[in-house]
């Protein structure tokens, strides 16, 4: 028991002393971004503890509270720090619940894209030949189109194929599917490129010589050595996925108002922007910007920290 504890202690100390951690401690931007993301994560995991009001409890909503400006503005109320929306919901609470939806869809899409792209890249790079050519041609065709168009088209296809009612019931998984499918190409290309290099290394030849099967060579020997660029890619992709979800929701093809994401909240507030109730759209929008910015700063730092060429 004490041995295990000592081992754990040593591991933590090892991680603390590693180059990456050393780099991290010296980058104020990365530290700030991590703190912001940590706050988002806590709020996303325990929204009921953080949010002042459970916004989707209809009994707690009063229409007379509609359109109250933020607490510091004229006519604001201390009960609603960031004001209320058109239905009298507390905006801060709606934003906290909305960020949770945005993060779920974003993370889900990244995981899906990883699950498709990394194996395909490994197989394409390791096997080569016809399979490689096929996978990379499909990737080329998809790369011809920007992600947002692919996502909109996938969503349109799902809508037409499933019918409006079924589509609505499975909206979150379908959205994750649409956004995740737009992202796999980058992973496949990167992993393939790295696999082509790693395949030539002696350790791979050694593994094959001792009788490891191709699956084991790919998963246990090559995969761990190509994960660094994948990690950087996944961070940047998370920012892109969150933006994609927000954009789809904003144009009305994403999450509906009943369980709004940040993009949906901006869409709902957009109707009131011209009539002067600016806070309903602007605060969810700025929250979205903060979330994406924090992810991007972290991704930027990771890329520089993990790339020995730049140091």
């Amino acid at each position: 028991m004490s041995g295990m504890q000592r081992d754990l202690g040593r591991r933590i100390r090892g991680a603390w002393d590693s180059d990456l951690a050393h780099d991290f401690r010296r980058s104020p931007a990365a530290i700030c971004a991590s703190l912001v993301l940590l706050a988002f994560l806590v709020a996303g995991l325990l929204p009921s503890l953080v949010a002042p009001v459970p916004v989707f409890d209809l009994t707690r909503i009063n229409l007379r509270d509609a359109f109250i400006p933020p607490a510091w503005a004229e006519g604001g109320s201390a009960r609603f720090l960031l004001g209320t929306d058109g239905q009298g919901r507390d905006l801060l609470s709606a934003i906290i619940y909305g960020a949770r939806v945005s993060m779920v869809v974003g993370l889900g899409s990244v995981v899906l894209a990883l699950a498709i792209g990394v194996p395909l890249g490994l197989i394409a790079g390791y096997r080569g030949g016809r399979l490689d050519a096929l996978i990379m041609r499909v990737a080329d065709v998809q790369l011809t189109f920007p992600a947002i168009l692919v996502a909109v088209i996938l969503d349109g296809v799902a809508r037409a194929a499933l019918g409006q009612a079924t589509h609505e019931r499975y909206l979150v998984p379908l959205l994750i599917l649409a956004i995740g499918l737009t992202g796999w190409v980058q992973y496949a290309r990167t992993v393939r490129g790295c696999t082509l290099v790693e395949r030539q290394r002696d350790y791979v030849a050694a593994a094959i010589l001792v009788g490891r099967g191709p699956g084991a060579v790919m998963l246990r020997h090559i995969l761990p050595n190509v994960l660094t660029p994948v990690l950087v890619l996944a961070t940047i992709h998370l920012a892109v996925a969150i933006i994609l979800e927000a954009t789809l929701s904003f144009v009305g093809l994403g999450i509906p108002p009943t369980q709004p994401s940040l993009g949906t909240l901006v869409r709902m507030g957009n109707d009131y922007l011209l009539s002067g109730e600016w806070w309903i759209a602007i605060f969810p929008g700025l929250t979205l910007l903060l979330l994406v910015l924090a992810v991007n700063i972290l991704g930027d730092w990771l890329r520089d920290a993990l790339n020995p060429m730049l140091q």
Binding site: R137, D140, V141, T144, F145, P146, I148, L149, V152, I153, D155, G156, V157, R159, A160, A161, A239, I243, A246, T247, F250, V251, G252, L253, G263, V266, N270, L273, L274, G276, W278, A281, I282, G285, L288, L289, V292, L293, V295, N296, I297, D300
Partner: protein, 329 residues
């Protein structure tokens, strides 16, 4: 060089054929066009009659060849939602999108490339660091949010610029333009800025990264050792070698500008192709969606091909097969 060209053309043809096949599958199997034409309460006999008239009872391969023929003849079917031929709707909406995309792109190129070069050359200066920080906000900003903030600032608060529509347009017969009227020009400012914000940030970061990469090369050090002025080193050696990736980026960004115009058009109710596309997706208007898909694919393939041709012109090494092989390594 001929082999290179042929390979690119072949690849372009494959992409187009794939997309057309996808569009055909969508067109044929998503939603029932017969029901869409006759209405849900039509009789089975009437449906069979229309099905035969439209050729939907033919084998699939015959239908596909038929579809291809109609596409090439410019007959894209009839919009379920609007009840008018798709080609007429598209031609009507095209000028608005082209004017928006061209202006947004011009703005992005005019700002992004110089900023990228300057921030690469003066890497450690405070101004460059600040610009880099701002550009991170730029690429983190969803374009609909940028549009919204611009509307809030310039339309609602300052009441300087219009927040929706194209303003007054002048019909030139084959083209309607908003560039010849005051209200048309004023309406163009905010949407074009919205497109440019993300693109400027993106372009600046990419150009900077490329330029830094080039500045580390041996031939730059050698050029300095020969006693060439900074100006000559930067412009003749560094910039010229940065140009290849920049052309790729610019070409691909033009596609992304058109894609993001979808969002910008929705924010500003700009009556272009993007807004039409979104409305069609929401209404599952398959003829319009599939046609848009084919046309956008054609556009992107054309852009990619021109980018490849520009390569040949900028980078002479590509003109010989051996040179191309050497670069690929």
């Amino acid at each position: 060089m001929i082999a290179y060209l042929l390979a690119r053309l072949w690849q372009a043809a494959i992409v187009m054929l794939t997309v057309v096949a996808l569009a055909f599958v969508m067109f044929t199997y998503l939603g029932d066009p017969v029901v869409a034409i006759l209405g849900a309460d039509s009789t089975a006999a009437a449906r069979a009659e229309v099905r035969r008239e439209l050729g939907l009872d033919q084998p699939m391969i015959v239908q596909f060849v038929d579809y291809l023929g109609r596409l090439l003849a410019g007959d894209f079917g009839i919009s379920y939602r609007l009840g008018t031929p798709v080609d007429r709707v598209l031609v009507e909406r095209l000028p608005a999108t082209v004017e928006l995309a061209v202006f947004g792109m011009a703005l992005a190129l005019a700002l992004g490339i110089p900023l990228g070069i300057v921030t690469a050359l003066r890497r450690r200066s405070l101004g460059s660091q600040a610009l880099l920080g701002v550009s991170l906000i730029g690429i983190s900003m969803p374009s609909f949010l940028a549009g919204l903030l611009l509307i809030w600032l310039f339309s609602v608060t300052l009441e300087m610029l219009p927040s929706f529509g194209r303003g007054e347009t002048i019909d030139l017969g084959w083209w309607t333009t908003g560039l010849l009227t005051g209200s048309g020009l004023r309406s163009l400012v905010l949407p074009a800025l919205t497109i440019a914000i993300f693109q400027v940030a993106m372009m600046m970061r990419l150009v900077r990264a490329e330029m830094l990469e080039v500045m580390r090369k041996e031939y730059i050090r050698f050029a300095r050792a020969r006693g060439l002025s900074d100006r000559a080193v930067h412009l003749r050696h560094a910039l010229r070698n940065t140009l290849v990736p920049v052309v790729t980026i610019a070409g691909l960004q033009l596609g992304s500008v058109i894609a993001f115009a979808v969002i910008t058009e929705s924010v500003f109710q700009w009556p272009g192709l993007g807004l039409l596309f979104l409305q069609s997706v929401a209404a599952a208007d398959v003829p319009v969606i599939s046609t848009y898909l084919v046309l956008i694919a054609a556009l992107f393939v054309a852009i990619n091909l021109s980018v490849d041709l520009l390569y040949l012109w900028i980078d002479p090494r590509l003109r010989s097969a051996a040179g191309a092989e050497a670069i690929r390594r």
